[in-house]
Every structure is written in structure tokens, then in C-alpha cells.
Symmetry: C2
Subunit: 335 residues, 2 copies
């Protein structure tokens, strides 16, 4: 099969390969915005981590889902990488009045997790729909439609799933406590997935099984991709089609481009390198795409049992993301 | 006892009479702002209707409590009579995007109940504290403190209590559905108080029993004062001290100053007049304060078994509210 070409704008049924992306937040969102430049967006599905969903002020917040929707809608704040562009923070500012009277021991009015005034509407809608009994898959599809997206955005599960982090300093805490409140600046001892029999959704399962290509986004392997892989059968589904599963390393030159993946890998006994990434993914993916900065490690990745593609993986511009998407898909389709 | 005088600013313990006000929203808030001009604010307690509390977007909203706090903090919007002055509506505007995709049958993203960006912080704080297990009495005290209030603002109950309205057009609906969404423009057949054994709080009970004066604010007798009186023992507590309980008529010249009290009284078989108000209150209050517009009805109020004071009750200016407060308290103290 040849490498995918640009989107079909003729109105004919899409001929693009169907692509499913195992997704965390920012890295996945950037990869997806590369993919929709080179294939029909309607043929693209993101299966998204919900392990870092949280409840704030009574609202259901899904950071990775929102980062993907806002990014693909070209509404993400380009500097922060999260939240909406041209955002305002009036409610957050008004909360300070209450922080001042909050009794000892209370964590109400958390102001460490910024929710912008426009962004709040998304959490309001999601919360209200979930309370009406809609599942997160349905609500997420509605939100994606509201933002005019043609690609499918699927939460990994419709059930409650919470990633918790055991830290040296603060014990076992919610993921956002670790990631945002503590700015992921404390050593991690263990990751725990707190859920009650959560399952991959029917839609996400079909997206993994039926796709022509499955990509594992350059997201944190432990706390972004890890929760998805922790759901029953996911690793088996990937292994069954390993030849057309391609992972993109989130580690470049021994460091994470964003977030604590590098330190976390080291703290939990992995190597913070493309080799470490390869050993986490070799059972479920046939190919690892690494950055040119890691060219010297390509042979070692191959020795670990994966094919290895070397290209530019730092998606600092749309063209880089498109080229990375093209390379990863070509590798999967030639698998 | 003589009529109360101005606040004691000497630093000595307050010598003001202790005043408790049975309160709805706007009318009660204006009366309270008159009262704190003529007695020590620390001697004033509002026992406030929570029957029109509601849940929106997952947030616990207490309209009457907030109207009182914001009014007494001089932060209410003077034209609307509810919500904060200099408010913005960014989140509400952003919700429209989701209204456009909301499926048939869904009531998510309600945009008919306006929540301002600054106001939202209050609902965030209240919701978070309630979820932590704090009771509404405690949280309301914290909110009042955050706004620098010296008077005590007490919810009537810490338990769930919801006023529902049976309408001809829409059946049995939540109070805010009737009041805000339908702009109280539909005929009312019946009022229902939906609660599970709700009780007057210990603090509110003490405020009614221990006060020197109890005033019934010029609030809607059926849906603002009615829920408080529907709690067990409240009418008995008022009857026990009826001589020092004074009600202020919310009906002036046969019409409600604000809201649907006049139509609602008529629709539910009462008279929309000070006489109708007298027959609702004569068992629990010794005196009815009516407006000069109703001077001709004073004798009929007396015939109904109440003392009657005639004064200006339309609190269009702070001075009027203060004078009304003075008149009502004097009547109660001479009871």
C-alpha cells in the first residue's frame, strides 16, 4: 500500500486509510492535527485517556479530551498548550474571596487548577449531560460537533477511572494534584489506576480493531497511554494487529518535550530514552518513530525487537506534524 | 421599651434589640439593609428560604441567600435586583455553542438561568464545601464573612427542600423553571414542597425563639415565606411569640412590587390585597405593616385580628428602608 495522500475534497467517499490514535493530551493533539492534514478527518479516531479526568467545583473536567478538541478546532491557546485562546479568568479571580475564608482542612475553591471563563462552558455542558444519564462517549461526540470537528474523539471508557500518583512527599494523590497543584515536581513512587471494572468502550474497541493504522501518540507512556493499556484487552487487541501499530517516542534526546515523562520513567525503573520507550511498547507496536536527535539509538531500538523510523518528531510547526503523521502512517501501512 | 436607635459605635457590647427576619430574596434583602442602618448589624439574623435553591450545571445555587449577601455587601446589581454589579457573562455566552448541539429532550446547558462570571465563584465555593460535607449553614456563614457582613445569614434548613409549582401549561415543575424559565407568566394550580423530613436548623430555631423582634419580610407569602413556615414547628414558634412578630405586606395597592405574588395569591384562592396577606399571617404575627396606598384597608386588617401600621413600604431608597425597619421594630417592641 502506498503512503496516504491529502484529503479527498471531491465529495466522494473517503478513501483515506482509517487511522486510530491512542492519545493523551498535548502530544496527541499535535499529532492528530498533523494527521488531519494528510488524511480525511472523518477517517481519524482518537481514543483518549480519561485517567486524568477530575471533579472540580462539582464539574466534570476531562483535560485530555478538551485539549484534543480545542487543538483540532484551532482554538487552543498556542502558548500554554492547554485551554482556549483569548481566554479570560474572571471566575477564578473571584474565587480568591472565598479562599480567604476557607477553613483549615478545606480544599474548596481550588484555585490551583485554572478554568477559564469560556472553557467553563464545556465543563458545564459535560457535567449536565452526564447527570442526565448520557455517557461520556455521547457527550464528547456532541462537544466535538459543537466545535465543528470531523474526526471522532472517543474517551477510552465511559466508566469512572482515576489515575493516582504515589509521591514521596504527599502520599497517594489524585493525578491533577500531582500534575497541576504540585507541578509534577515531586518524585513518584508508584502509579495507581483507581477504577471499578472500567472497560474500553465498544466504539473505542472497534476503532482499534477496524483501523488500517493504529498510532500510539507521543504522550506519556505511563500516565497517558498507560491508563488506556490498563483497560482489559487493550494490549491483546494491539498485539493482534502489532504489524500496523506504530508508536512515536515522547522522549527526545533523553528528555520529555513536555511534562514529567522523563523523570517518571527513571523513578519507576525504566530508562528515560527511546530504548526505554521501546521496551514499554515492543509487545504492542511493530515500529517506533524516533527523533533525529536519537539517530544513534536506532540500532538499539531494532535490537529490542522493533522497526525504527527516524524523522523530525518535535511538532513545533504544522508542517512537521503533517510530515511526522505521513512517516508514521507509511510505516504502519507497510508493516 | 423605646424604639431602637442608631448603631452603637462606641465599642461597647451591642445594646440593639435582636432582630430576626423571616426572609425571601429581594424584598427581604432591602428590608435587611434598612434594619442594619438602625440597629447593630451583629444583632440581626436573616432566616432565609432555600426552597428555590436549584442545581445548575452541577452547581448548588441558592438564589435567596445570595441576593441577601450581595445586597447587604452593597454588591448587588441595583437595576436587576439580583446578581452582582459590574458582572460579565462570558461563560453563559460560551454555552450557546453547546445549546446548538444539545440533543432533543436534553435540558443540559440551560441558558435561561443567567449565572455571571463573578457570581459563579460563589456557587463553586458552595458546591465544593457541601461536597466536602460542610452543611449549608456553615458554608453560608463563610460566604457572608467573605463579603464582610456582620449580620447572620442562616438558611432555613440544611436539608434538601425544593419548591415545585404545578402549572396549567407545564405540569409540576421546579420553582426556577416556573420563575425564571417561564418568567412566572403561567397560571399556578398548586405549590408543592418536596423534601424529605427537612427541619429548621438549630441556629434558625434559636434565632426565632431568642430574638427581641421577629419580622416577616415583604416577600412572597406562598413561595418565599411559605417554605419556611412549612418546616415543622415554625408556625408554633411564631405563635408562641406572636405579640412581637410583625409582618410587612408584600402587596401594595393590590399588586406585588416584584414577582408573581399577586397573581399567585388569586390563583390559589387568596385575596391579592393586604386583607389576603392578613389572613395568611394573623395566626403567627400580631401586626401587619401596610403601605399608605392601602390606608383605606387598615380597619379591615384590624377586623381580621391584627394590629395595623401604615407607612411607606416601597423601599425605593435606603432612607425608606430604614424608616420602614424602624416602624416595624417599634411595633414589635411595643407588642
Amino acid at each position: 500500500m502506498s503512503a496516504p495522500t491529502g484529503p479527498d475534497r471531491s465529495g466522494a467517499p473517503p478513501t483515506s486509510p482509517r487511522v486510530t490514535v491512542i492519545s493523551g493530551g498535548v502530544g496527541a493533539a499535535r499529532l492528530l492535527s498533523g494527521i488531519v492534514q494528510v488524511v480525511e478527518p472523518a477517517a481519524v479516531t482518537a481514543v483518549v485517556n480519561t485517567g486524568d479526568d477530575t471533579e472540580l467545583h462539582g464539574l466534570h473536567v476531562s483535560p485530555d479530551l478538551d485539549t484534543i478538541v480545542y487543538t483540532l478546532a484551532n482554538a487552543i491557546d498556542p502558548e500554554r498548550g492547554w485551554g482556549l485562546v483569548d481566554e479570560t479568568w474572571r471566575t477564578m479571580a473571584a474565587l480568591e474571596r472565598y479562599v480567604a475564608v476557607r477553613p483549615d482542612g478545606s480544599a474548596a475553591a481550588p484555585t490551583w487548577f485554572n478554568l477559564g471563563d469560556h472553557d467553563l462552558a464545556t465543563h458545564f455542558y459535560r457535567t449536565a449531560r452526564l447527570r442526565e444519564g448520557a455517557d461520556l462517549t455521547t457527550v464528547t461526540a456532541e462537544i466535538a460537533t459543537a466545535w465543528g470537528l470531523a474526526l471522532r474523539v472517543l474517551p477510552m471508557t465511559d466508566q469512572r477511572f482515576r489515575t493516582r500518583i504515589e509521591t514521596e512527599s504527599d502520599g497517594l494523590i489524585d493525578f491533577q494534584d500531582y500534575f497541576v497543584r504540585l507541578r509534577h515536581a515531586v518524585p513518584v513512587r508508584r502509579i495507581e489506576f483507581d477504577h471499578d471494572d472500567a472497560r474500553l468502550t465498544r466504539q473505542a474497541r472497534a476503532a482499534i480493531v477496524d483501523a488500517d493504522v493504529v498510532l500510539i501518540a507521543p504522550s506519556n507512556p505511563l500516565v497517558s497511554v498507560g491508563p488506556i493499556r490498563a483497560l482489559p484487552d487493550v494490549d491483546a487487541l494491539l498485539r493482534d494487529r502489532r504489524d500496523s501499530v506504530v508508536a512515536i517516542s515522547p522522549i527526545v534526546g533523553g528528555a520529555a518535550l513536555k511534562g514529567p515523562a522523563d523523570r517518571m520513567l527513571t523513578e519507576l525503573g525504566h530508562e528515560a530514552s527511546v530504548i526505554g520507550v521501546a521496551s514499554l511498547y515492543r509487545d504492542v507496536a511493530s515500529t517506533l518513530v524516533i527523533d533525529r536527535a536519537d539517530t544513534a539509538s536506532a540500532e538499539q531500538v531494532r535490537s529490542a525487537g522493533m522497526r525504527c523510523e527516524v524523522t523530525d518528531t518535535v511538532m513545533s510547526a504544522p508542517g512537521v506534524a503533517a510530515e511526522l503523521a505521513r512517516t508514521a502512517m507509511a510505516a504502519a501501512l507497510s508493516g
